[in-house]
Amino acid sequence: MPRKPEDIRSILATDCGSTTTKAILIEYDEANREYRLTGRGEAPTTVEAPFEDVTRGVLNAIQEISELRGRPFIAGGAILRPQQGEAGADIYISTSSAGGGLQMVVAGVVKSMTAESAQRAALGAGSIVMDIIASNDRRKPHEKIERIRQLRPDMILLAGGTDGGTIKHVVQLAELISAANPRPRLGQGYDLPIIYSGNKEARELIREILGRKCALHITGNVRPVLEMEDLAPSRDKIHDLFMEHVMAQAPGYRKLMDWADAPIMPTPGAVGLLIEMEARKKGVNVLGVDIGGATTDVFSVFDGVFNRTVSANLGMSYSVCNVLAEAGVENIMRWTPIEISPEDLRNRIANKMIRPTTIPQGLEELKIEQAIAREALRLSLVQHKEFAVSLKGVQTERDISQAFEQSGGGQTLVNMMKLDMIIGSGGVLSHAPRRSQSMKIMIDSFLPEGFTELTVDSIFMMPHLGVLSTIHETAALQVFEKDCLIRLGACIAPVESKRMREGDVMAHVRLEIPSSQGKPWSGPIRYGEIILVPATYGEPIRAVAEPARGVDLGAGRDQPVEKMIHGGVVGIALDGRGRRPFLDLRQASDRVARLARWSRDFDEYPEG
């Protein structure tokens, strides 16, 4: 690896997913003095039988880039590094979620305090949390032991107690874990890693209880005092152990680790890093989502605080029936712009679960899939809002005006009115036949308020760029801005405070769109409508909005707003379908006709 980042001319990066390994090539463009994406390839992941060697899929994906670019990257069954002339690349990096990703169990004394902090650390590191064991989780002790025995996690994170506080409860938890004698998911020949990040006074006792049975690692307390979380030491330790223990057990990963110039990261951990970096650099609030076949990840950064949740049971293929189970058929029907019986809809969704690799051939099938996606995303955001909260158990000083608000911490940090940007990722969003579909799916599911920019990850390269950001932040940001993000446009959504009737004016909006990007537009946003104003990405567009009485566009009720916004490949959406509450079509007799009208006004589906 070249010594200095500025010496790096070419970067190969892969993401080893559970089904596909995706490779990208990034090169330095001398003329424009910037890094750009110059190639991509993909191949099936080869972790499982008959290959059982992840590097074969990696080499196959890179070989595809070789063929497209007409230059060699592989020699003697390995990646050629550093670049010599036209051959090879200067560095190689990778992320991985193959074999089910990183699966953890977390434990803490109080469910809403140390257990929640431990969960935040595990999720932030890119893990799926299989269960949260807490002293007060209402399960009987033998039920907890039975549960730990059944689960076969990749590692356990045990927290509990503030430094200097009582040790009895965290010791009891350690005894339960010891009695359960948990076994690791992969391989039989090694001890399960357990990270202890609780009360430092209990370390010696924890060593006595767990030290002989497990690979015990001790790190800083996730909650050294009630008023503060310190997740970084646990997150870093999880990443180290992911490499040393978990990945090292998976077929071919030792070789892959030798090839990589930076530690291999869990895929969602890398995506989170990139989103955190984007929010920090621009000083904006960001919501990111990655909807897959089995799980949906949601990331947010509000006022600099990062949170990640994974809805392990919400996805578009393997878990599609969980979306049906959690949302209910009537909630999926409300987004389905076709006449279909609930029984037929259930059967079609279940047939997707049992044949998860099929794709929608007809328009009707596409509309059903996109209806399910809306509910999967909506539910994932609900779960995220419940988790991304201020610290609980913290005593705060209150003045008399706050005395009656029962706010002892625990309020969600996700404020849709303060949200500046949404980044969508995952097949149903990145590969929708029309970009307007991706944009409308995200508006319908997240219901952004005020002014919000919407984007999608063009080819799912956020994981690659996330791991790249750890060694070359400039390259990662340049490619993210120029090649990864597709700017769909903006959404302007007034929020009403009183009941409105269909057709009522919610706000008057003027969009000063330069002639190079479209035509200037001026008009009302009416309750019950969503319309699209074409405006491409380029110069910022001045938007002036005058809300009707009782309506808020971000500056407070009745207050006019003037903002610089961006257009995009879809345009600017003016959404007057209400937010308190959103216009409910579940019982509407003209549901199909209304959905069809919204679709038509948004250029969502082909006519006919």
């Binding site: 559970s18 499982e48 074999g99 089910g100 002790p141 033998h142 032991i145 039975e146 040790i167 009895k168 010791v171 009891q172 005894e175 339960l176 010891s178 009695a179 359960a180 006792l205 089995a294 049971n313 393997y318 878990s319 029936c321 969980n322 049906l324 189970a325 959690e326 609930p342 029984e343 037929d344 259930r346 059967n347 079609r348 969704i349 279940a350 047939n351 679960m353 049992i354 044949r355 998860p356 690799t357 099929t358 794709i359 929608p360 051939q361 007809g362 328009l363 009707e364 099938e365 596409l366 590969h431 036949p433 029309r434 082909p606």
Partner: protein, 375 residues
């Protein structure tokens, strides 16, 4: 690339089948390599460690955790009976004594002087596994189990419910498209593996359970009926542990879908013979499908069916469409164009051309068909 790989469900008349029969934990393996086995023969057994019951002895006996060993009558490793007194506090001047009785029968595994907890472990649970199919022990897996090799008819379904059962095959539907309802089942079906057609009603399945039918094989079933039978929504396709009494194997999918004729004909050809049936399904890692297996007598040779070694789909291959609008239809591949094509959904995909039974032609995404193996 003229050839595409689209694995399908196995529908084979005489295939070589290897069944790995492994214990959940290490134990004793009974047969020897080369030994002939009947389906019901036990091949391995072990003892699963009993459940652990933590008891907060310090709290119950009102002593400090460090003192708990002084008031216990038992030590680590001692056996205890359910209800047996295992500790008693000294009380005050001999009065107000607290007692601790064991909630389970088992042994005392550990006593903690820090938390005052004791861990009681119940007696081990005996587990044995059988051969599942008639066959020969091809391989011994020391301490874990065996691999049984046999020649058999094998039908894989798309999803099932319930675990392993064995019973005689009995045809009930008059055709692969026929529907089965409660009135079609009777006492003669008790203990049998009943084969239906294109659809089974929930009432039909409930009747089969009442009658003690071992398993029902059907082409289609309503997804909502699964929720009603289980009492919860099936969120992911991981099944096999349901305790229904009757195993269900769905061969085609959800809705009214005729059973593939070849599947139905093969099952009919083995009517009256004993089948091993398993509803266990796992669609994600390490795909597992439900199955019906009927072994052939010793010495029967496997037929080198094309489906045994299916490597992909080529022009002329028999395929089944597995997604709307052609869901369930069967035809032969007539062309495999290279270029991506735009579908009605505007999705750009790799396609194949298919000629259905009856001569109608259609273009479908390659991802939406599966090879009919053994065809």
């Amino acid at each position: 690339m003229a050839n595409v790989f689209t694995p399908g469900l196995k529908v084979s008349e005489r295939a070589v089948i290897r069944k790995e029969r492994k214990l959940p934990l290490r134990g004793e393996v009974l047969p020897v390599t080369g030994q002939r086995l009947k389906a019901d023969d036990i091949v391995a057994r072990t003892s699963l460690p009993g459940k652990v019951f933590p008891v907060n002895a310090a709290n119950i006996l009102s002593v400090m955790p460090a003192e708990v060993t002084h008031v216990l009558r038992k030590r680590e490793g001692d056996e205890v009976a359910k209800g047996e007194l295992i500790g008693e506090s000294e009380g005050f001047l001999g009065f107000f004594r607290s007692q601790l009785a064991s909630p389970v029968e088992g042994t005392i595994e550990s006593i903690s002087k820090v938390s005052g907890q004791i861990m009681l472990r119940e007696k081990p649970v005996e587990v044995a596994i059988d051969a599942y199919v008639d066959g020969v022990v091809e391989e011994l897996i020391p301490g874990e189990g065996v691999v049984v090799k046999t020649v058999a008819m094998q039908i894989q379904g798309i999803i099932g419910l319930g675990g392993e059962v064995k019973g005689e095959i009995m045809m009930l539907a008059a055709s692969p498209d026929a529907m089965l309802d409660a009135g079609d089942f009777g006492g003669q079906h008790r203990g049998k593996v009943v084969v239906g057609g294109g659809f089974l009603t929930r009432a039909g399945f409930e009747r089969a359970r009442e009658l003690g039918v071992k398993a029902v094989v059907t082409g289609g079933f309503h997804f909502d009926d699964i929720r009603r039978i289980l009492g919860y929504e099936l969120g992911v396709a991981i099944t096999g542990t349901e305790k229904l009494g009757t195993t269900l194997v769905i061969t085609e999918g959800f809705g009214q879908i005729g059973m593939a004729r070849r599947t139905w004909e093969l099952l009919r050809s083995r009517e009256g013979q004993r089948a091993s049936v398993n509803g266990a399904t796992q669609i994600r890692a390490g795909v597992m499908r439900p199955e019906v297996i009927v072994t052939w007598p010793e010495g029967t040779e496997a037929v080198d069916e094309r489906g045994q070694e299916v490597k992909g789909i080529d022009v002329g291959s028999l395929i089944r469409c597995i997604r709307y609008p052609y869901f369930g239809r069967i035809g032969r591949v007539s062309a495999l164009p290279h270029e991506l094509q735009r579908m009605a959904s505007e999705t750009m995909v790799r396609v194949l051309e298919v000629e259905f039974e009856g001569g109608e032609r259609a273009v479908v995404p390659r991802a939406n068909v599966e090879a009919i193996e053994g065809s």
